[in-house]
């Protein structure tokens, strides 16, 4: 194998390097290109498609391209957010893989100058009923997320977990962090002002995760098990100190730029800050604090040791920086300075060991690929499915309880109990409702946060499925009383060099873009993770949508559980026989096929407006979107929060199972006090949103009639025991 292949580059890419620098690169330089031009750092397969995304808007203060995106919420405040994947590290060492994923995304947020206030996570695992390995991964990942987030003292307020065979060999672990910032405190990763100092703060550099970046860009094979020592270990205590020290530093005005050391370590941090600033930088690897003796320059330059930051400091103010950092028990050292010749120069003492045009390393210099795409056969095949062909269940009580304890619908309490979701006492709506709500201290405002993606839909129809992911996120925000503002996207896909996978990816981006444009929720940041596949199977396309919404008055929030008996329940939206891709079809009939539900975004937005206005006027007792498992599961979820039952009659011409478990889009369940009913009806009528009263809250069981004939009658306590206990039961 030639040198360039060893660092994951092709012959063409190698020739391109020679073109850039006019000579053969030395080994250090080659490795720097290797990590920077890896998919993970360069986005070479994905960036060309990003042009579809709407990324700007009145409220967008920072779109994609920085450490994190920023969106305005008024009162001189803004929300900073980003999502990031740590799939491959978590597959190998679930605890540390997940923990360092959380640590990395937190650094992205405070690198912008923001205080991180919330964490979310989106997880995908294989068939938990079948494999002990899946249980091991789930336990380890959840403990890793908890271990890091709890220790650093940032509440983990939400997320999602799904199980599907497509993740058997390749779990997904995406972590999202959200911060707040005052407009005038926004910092960017710029190295500008010739002569300014580059300082290094945080943990010492070891041989952690060497090759991690290119490692993250190849398919998982037996061989990657061998590279196990590439595992990095997280130190949340160190990060807490780093976080406090950095935020204090930023307040002094001595900091020109700040950048976390993530994938590709110093190499990436140096060339990114250099190209965003004046364009040049010179550093000395001997000055970099090390954990191990005898490290080579290349090891120092590409190490992915955790909990490290670069700060670019105004010349002459280095001591001030050292003092603050020392107060937090850390050290800051000058490792180089800003230049203006556009070059990234790496020295080892007096000798120059690498000298490259900074821009050529960066994504602007990296190659870009448009791949061929091809519609896979399964896509057309799936559309041939006819719902009428499945047999109708005989006992609907059994069907509903089976659904409630199926791992995708079961309560995720076993998971979020392990996360401190209350620390910092801002969590107004805790995990377990549609979106989490956090107040913004010192204002009347709150924000609503959620992550969503139904990857079965995205597999069966990547474009429409991805639209639905955005809309589902918006529904969760709306049901909490929030106005959707912006999204961050975590795009998890298979190998983009395969035409069918690239098609999935392209379709998905187009779908997300369309939905975001219509909802006016620009894409402000995101992450791409490719090569999520094993020899036998790719994951379902999983474009995770992290969304933030704003609530102007924190007193006007809403949650999904029924609050009292005697309230009227309205169904918003219409039920059609849409069974393709549903949880019902999968969990009960063991089929993942069909045409996924249809969605009309413009029409749905009217429902959003009507619901928001009703919440704003204090007319709704609860609101919940109808998603996986249809109206039957939706009703059960509303009942189980506070143990309040419901008596419902559905007038319909559909088959009972279609009526109960259809996943038709744009539907909600809201509960209303009888005296407010007319006002709510007026609002929905005005917005021309279809609705129908379906029953009322009552007693301690869920009774569902279809055309006045009872087909479901279940005590809440029974449903709840199964639903709450299911995940724990599967693990033991």
């Amino acid at each position: 194998m030639s040198n360039y292949q060893a660092v994951g580059l092709t012959r063409e890419e190698y020739m391109k390097i020679i073109d850039y620098i006019g000579r053969e690169p030395n080994l250090l330089e080659l490795n720097m290109y290797g990590v920077m031009w890896s998919e993970h750092c360069s986005y070479k397969h994905s960036r060309p498609l990003f042009k579809h995304f709407p990324t700007s808007g009145e409220k967008v203060l920072q779109g994609p391209g920085e450490n994190a995106g920023i969106v305005d919420i008024g009162d001189n405040l803004a929300i900073v957010m980003k999502i990031e994947s740590h799939n491959h590290p978590s597959a190998i060492e679930p605890y540390q893989g997940a923990a360092t994923g959380v640590g990395g995304i937190i650094r992205d947020i405070f690198a912008m100058g923001a205080r991180p206030i919330a964490l979310l996570n989106s997880l995908r695992f294989g068939e938990i009923e079948k494999y002990d390995r899946v249980k091991y991964l789930l336990e380890g990942v959840v403990e890793g997320i908890a271990g890091y987030g709890n220790c650093i003292g940032i509440p983990t307020v939400g997320g999602e977990v799904y199980f599907n065979k497509s993740y058997n060999g390749n779990p997904l672990v995406n972590a999202m962090c959200v911060g707040v910032i005052e407009h005038d405190k926004i910092h960017r990763g710029n190295a500008s002002g010739v002569g300014n100092s580059i300082m290094y703060v945080g943990a010492a550099t070891g041989r952690d995760g060497i090759g991690g970046a290119s490692f993250a860009s190849v398919e998982l094979t037996e061989e990657s098990e061998e590279k196990r020592s590439a595992v990095q270990v997280g130190d949340p205590f160190m990060e807490k100190l780093l976080l406090e020290a950095c935020l204090e530093l930023l307040d002094t005005g001595s900091i020109i730029g700040i950048q976390d050391l993530g994938a590709a370590g110093l190499t990436s941090a140096c060339c990114e800050t250099a190209t965003r600033g004046e364009g040049g930088m010179e550093i000395d690897v001997l000055k970099v604090p090390r954990r191990e003796k005898g490290m080579l320059p290349v090891e120092v330059m590409i190490s992915e040791s955790q909990e490290r930051m670069l700060v670019i400091v105004e010349k002459g103010r280095e001591e001030e920086v050292e003092k603050i950092v020392e107060k937090w028990g850390l050290h800051a050292v000058v490792i180089g300075k800003v230049t203006d010749n556009g070059r990234l120069v790496v020295k080892e003492g007096d000798g120059i060991v690498a000298d490259l045009p900074a821009e050529s390393l960066d994504s602007s210099g990296a190659p870009k690929y448009y791949r061929d795409y091809e519609i896979p056969d399964y896509y057309r095949e799936a559309k041939k499915f006819r719902p009428e062909d499945i047999t109708e269940p005989k006992n609907y009580n059994d069907t509903l309880t089976s659904l409630l304890k199926s791992p995708n619908i079961a309560s995720k309490e076993w998971i979020y109990r392990q996360y401190d979701h209350m620390v910092r006492t801002n969590t107004v709506i805790k995990p377990g409702s549609d979106a989490a709500v956090l107040r913004i201290r010192g204002t009347k405002k709150a924000i609503a946060l959620t992550t969503d993606c139904n990857s079965r839909y995205c597999y069966l129809d990547p474009r429409e499925g991805s639209k639905i992911a955005v809309l589902e996120a918006a529904r969760n925000i709306i049901c909490s009383g929030g106005r959707p503002l912006a999204i961050t996207d975590g795009l998890n896909f298979g190998n983009p060099e395969k035409p069918d996978r690239y098609w999935q990816f392209r379709e998905s981006i187009i779908g997300i873009s369309e939905a975001c444009r219509e909802l006016d929720t620009p894409v402000i940041s995101g992450n791409v993770s490719f090569y999520n596949e094993t020899d036998t199977q790719a994951i379902y396309p999983t474009p995770i949508i992290g969304m933030v919404g704003v609530i102007d008055d924190v007193e006007k929030t809403c949650s999904m559980d029924f609050k009292a008996v005697g309230d009227i329940i309205l169904q918003i939206g219409e039920t059609k026989p849409e069974i393709g891709g549903s949880e019902y079809l999968s969990a009960i009939h063991n089929m993942e096929t069909g045409e996924i539900p249809f969605v009309n975004i413009a029409r749905e937005i009217k429902a959003h407006k009507a619901i928001l206005e009703s919440i704003d006027r204090g007319l709704l007792e609860s609101a919940h979107d109808i998603s996986e498992g249809g109206i039957a599961v939706g009703l059960a979820e509303c009942c189980m929060g506070k143990g309040i039952g419901a008596r419902v009659n559905l007038e319909t011409s559909l088959r009972s199972d279609f009526e109960l478990f259809s996943e038709s889009q744009s539907r909600f369940l809201v509960a209303i006090k009888p005296e407010n009913l007319q006002k709510v009806i007026d609002i929905f009528t005005e917005f021309k949103v279809p609705f129908k009263p379906v029953g009322e809250t009552s007693g301690d069981s869920l009774n569902i009639n279809i055309n006045n004939k009872e087909i479901i009658n279940l005590p809440i306590t029974k449903m709840e025991a199964l639903w709450r206990g299911a995940i724990e039961c599967l693990i033991q």
Partner: protein, 226 residues
């Protein structure tokens, strides 16, 4: 009347205590940096929750060596009020100011939940505004809240009525369902649950105020032992 909240590297709930006392209970309150020399006079000092020094090796093991802690020990020895919440409780046992120790939860998991506590003794500065046997709902958030203590010590504690709060449904395996205790002198409180997280209607729970209101009422001299 003045409250002080010690801030260790790795404290997380320092801010929560501060807001609860200042914003919800209108008290005068300062942060005390762990490195402080020459501690001012405080009526009540709080060691907050979190992961001081990362909670590495053992929870709360390193914090007792912080500079300010010698003076805090003196504060307690003078009979003034000292409260340890969660990590603070762990620190107090590490310092020997409270008996016993806190080990891994029985299920080996971190648990974040709101749980019912029973008030076992109301003749203390920390519980005088409660009713005996009253049940209050307070959040817990810990991985190592399983209280253990030697038998003889436990017998002494019972006799002295040092057990102040017990869990209604034991979440972590604590001996005798213990959630909170005080020292013999009844001026040092340690509890795993977080009353500071339950002081506001907006967060859906105000029952934690009872602990702080008891302290305030004691300090105001309004409390009389029965």
């Amino acid at each position: 009347m003045k409250f002080g909240i010690v801030v260790f590297p790795g404290s997380n709930c320092d801010i929560d205590c501060y807001h609860a006392l200042r914003d919800s209970l209108n008290q005068d309150v300062d942060y005390i940096w762990h490195d402080t020399e020459g501690l001012k006079e405080y009526d009540c000092i709080i060691l907050p929750g979190g992961f001081s020094y990362g909670d590495y090796l053992r929870c709360g093991a390193v914090a007792p060596f912080s500079k300010v802690m010698d003076e805090i020990r003196v504060h307690a020895e003078k009979g003034k009020l000292l409260v340890g919440i969660c990590n603070g409780f762990q620190i107090l046992t590490e310092m020997g100011l409270l008996p016993g120790a806190l080990v891994r939860n029985k299920n080996l998991k971190f648990i974040c939940n709101t749980v019912p506590l029973k008030v076992e003794n109301i003749d203390t500065p920390f519980t005088n505004r409660c009713d005996l046997g009253q049940v209050i709902n307070i959040p817990i958030a810990h991985g190592e809240g399983n209280y253990v203590v030697e038998k003889d010590e436990l017998a002494k504690m019972k006799e002295n009525r040092q057990i102040l709060f017990t869990y209604q449904e034991n979440p972590n395996g604590s001996v005798l369902d213990i959630a909170g205790i005080c020292n013999e002198g009844k001026n040092v409180l340690g509890m795993m649950p977080h009353p500071e997280r339950a002081c506001e209607e907006l967060l859906g729970n105000r029952e934690g105020r009872l602990v702080f209101e008891s302290i305030i009422s004691f300090l105001e001299g309004g409390w009389k032992s029965e």
